[in-house]
Symmetry: C2
Subunit: 452 residues, 2 copies
């Protein structure tokens, strides 16, 4: 069912048809539909809660997790206490925490008032972990066994706990809350039902710490193809697990953040449309200001050559090309190296290897560009000297730009800055001034006789 059909059925008050169509839907699709309807101007809050209330209770609660935070907040505000309690009960604790993190204080306190003390305690624990840490993305709902249990006991426990999430397939063995081992449902299925868990568990467990960075956690999971990874505190006590679905979200978020940083935008929390015009401007202006003022320095270089420019005004017309090519070459190198470092394919100790490689690549690129451009200028202006000035400037600029583009991100990493800030805009600004210096110096020397 799509938005138009839903609006039509609501408009015509065909609630029976609406209900029967809606309850066939997957919770995620249903949530997207509701969020989409909610963005429509003709759709009132009254219609929103009406729509929610005709859904089967369980489906309604399940789809709640997938809605965007605006719609969630509206619903929470309209919910009766009973409705709110039911939804919170059905939610996984990590999802509740995600929701809480998006809500204003009054909504948060209403949510916390409507949770049982045990859940509230867990929520408060989770809220304490720093943003972007393993602790902040983990869930505290997982299955754990004692080492002495038999496979039969273990299956009994799984049935009793009755979690519906896939994470039930990897279970953890603990003793005094310390993580001893891990056992999968598949291993339990294949084992004899009287076998003891400690005899079939894997004791060589790969885990992460609550304070580890969420991006590293996701990468670790991707590296080992894990569906879930245990999270332990500093005393090796098992406090939660991170599951593959959250790891996928983390990877996407971190990539989006890198894209933003590399375009000189300070990353926003929300999607493009959810971020206000004012917020957008606020996250774009700081870097623009820094870069604009740095570009003023570049301008000062050209003032040093004012007399030459006055004598050969044509020199100005090649400035955009020399600067542009330098900027493009630098951004190619810096982007590839920033990405390589993010994927841990390039490490700091590879510094000289990278520089040497970029130098050779730069040499090849610059020769091709210089020949094409030199030939073009020679033919267009019948001025071999000018062609040589431009060709040499291109060679110098390209090599310099690629070396700067390779070095700056690695230097940033070395001093524990995020390499992503050393991307195109900053590199371009740095390279621009160097390009102009190279260009005018070469021009002044080769065209010296015209400058008398």
């Amino acid at each position: 069912m799509d938005k138009e059909l839903a609006l039509e059925l609501i408009g015509n008050k065909q609630f029976a048809a609406l209900k029967s169509d809606l309850q066939e839907m997957n919770p995620a699709d249903l949530a997207f539909l509701i969020s989409e309807l909610d963005e429509d101007e003709d759709f009132s809050e009254k219609q929103l809660i009406m729509l929610y209330r005709i859904l089967p209770k369980e489906l309604a609660a399940e789809s709640f997790t997938y809605m965007d935070s605006d719609t969630q907040m509206k619903l929470i505000n309209i919910f009766s206490d009973k409705e709110l309690r039911y939804v919170i009960d059905e939610l996984y604790i990590d999802d509740t925490v995600d929701i809480i993190e998006e809500m204003p204080a009054n909504v948060v306190s209403r949510i916390l008032r409507n949770t049982d003390p045990e859940t509230r305690k867990q929520i408060n624990e989770l809220l304490k972990y720093p943003k972007d840490s393993a602790g902040s993305v983990m869930t505290t709902e997982f299955v754990y066994f004692d080492r002495e249990m038999t496979v039969k006991d273990a299956f009994e426990r799984i049935r009793k706990i009755g979690l519906v999430k896939e994470t039930v397939y990897t279970c953890y063995v603990t003793e005094a809350r310390k993580l001893l081992g891990v056992v999968t449902v598949l291993e339990m299925l294949v084992a004899d039902e009287d076998q003891r868990i400690e005899d079939i568990m894997e004791t060589n467990v790969i885990s992460v710490n609550t304070h580890d960075d969420q991006e590293n956690v996701a990468r670790t999971m991707s590296k080992y193809d894990f569906a879930a990874i245990p999270v332990v505190d500093n005393e090796n006590r098992l406090v939660g697990i991170v599951t593959f679905d959250d790891a996928m979200d983390v990877l996407q978020e971190e990539n989006t953040e890198d894209f933003a940083k590399m375009a000189a935008v300070m990353p926003a929390e929300d999607s493009y449309f959810k971020t206000s015009v004012f917020q957008h401007a606020k996250s774009r202006i700081p870097w623009l200001l820094v870069l604009m003022l740095s570009a003023a320095l570049t301008g000062m270089i050209s003032t040093r050559f004012e007399s030459q420019i006055a004598m050969i005004p044509m020199l100005v017309s090649f400035m955009p090309m020399v600067m542009g090519t330098g900027g493009n070459c630098g951004s190619q190198s810096s982007t590839l190296i920033i990405r390589g470092m993010a994927l841990e394919e390039i490490r700091l100790r590879d510094f000289f290897k990278v520089i040497f490689k970029e130098f050779r690549i730069a040499f090849l690129c610059s020769v091709v560009l210089a020949i094409v451009n030199g030939a073009r200028i020679w033919v267009t202006y019948s001025d071999p000297e000018l062609a040589i000035v431009i060709a040499l400037s291109i060679i110098g600029t390209v090599i310099l730009a690629k070396l700067v583009g390779a070095m700056l991100p690695m230097a940033a990493k070395a001093v524990k800055l995020d390499p992503a800030i050393m991307a195109t805009p900053l590199i371009t600004t740095v390279v621009d001034s160097c390009s102009l210096l190279i260009y005018f110096t070469i021009a002044t020397n080769i065209l010296a006789d015209r400058l008398q």
Copy 2:
């Protein structure tokens, strides 16, 4: 165990210690260690195969999947037929196909010679799917039941098939190979063992087609939090499944590809170091050439203002700043919009919404930048007219750049081009000429009396 220790133990021929340390390792870590050793110049092929042979057979085969393709190829070349057969038998078919796709023809035919006819048939089927399609990333190993089977029968089958991959937890119900439903091991565990599968299966199945784009498949899985998704052919016959670990790899690959495209680099298949200098140059030169020649057009704009430049040479010194600010503003907008479209947060039908939003953002940004810069110039040069020229140029350039940066990626999408090519380098080149035109036009008008 790290590379240095391994090299030391090998050097001292302490094979017992080496073996006992290695066999404690996780297959993925072991593979990374072996690949790392293999990159070391002092490490011979003889040592490589020796190292491989002291490993327990099963661990050796398991870690083989995680090695990089160079090391895999070396090993395959040294393997006896018996060793090769054992490894191929242990591999999942999708992993074998991944390996085959990286190997030269003679190695491929040797691999195929050493697989049993049934596997060979499946491998050949998988190799037929287009690159980047769901068919090319799926595995053909999954568990399927008949609808009449009982839960007990179903568990029996799982035990018998003895797959060790997590994908066993979602099983598929088929009839004449058509996909009827899906049932999870957890649902089976909670059900009575005499219940029939058709009574507990979910029939509202979300599946993808073999020819669907792998990126869409991964996004679908992430949207629904699926650990696995069934892949069907055009007749709705179940032919394979895509699992979350492959989906995570696909997301990372696609992101890396976007980063490369957005830096005007044609995406490479391999990691930074695996790509040769010549290949790097080849994938960087085409866009550099295109952009360089377009920048020549920008240069021609400034030739139109040669006489003005000759009279007020100082005008040149503000060119880098005006062009740079335009480029940065444009790349902020284009990057955010390209990413938003990749994540499906921004759709084509949002065109006017985006343009209007970017216009308002541009207005805010431009006013701030213009005030700061105008004030700076007024103070530095005590030249209010010049300050006004620059401030107005900044306002015009920023607004124009943001609109161009927003429009071009969406226009590319509309004509079915990849929006990612409309990123910083191309936008900068387009915006550069417009900025210069705006700048010189404003300057010529306001400073008219100095140009007499």
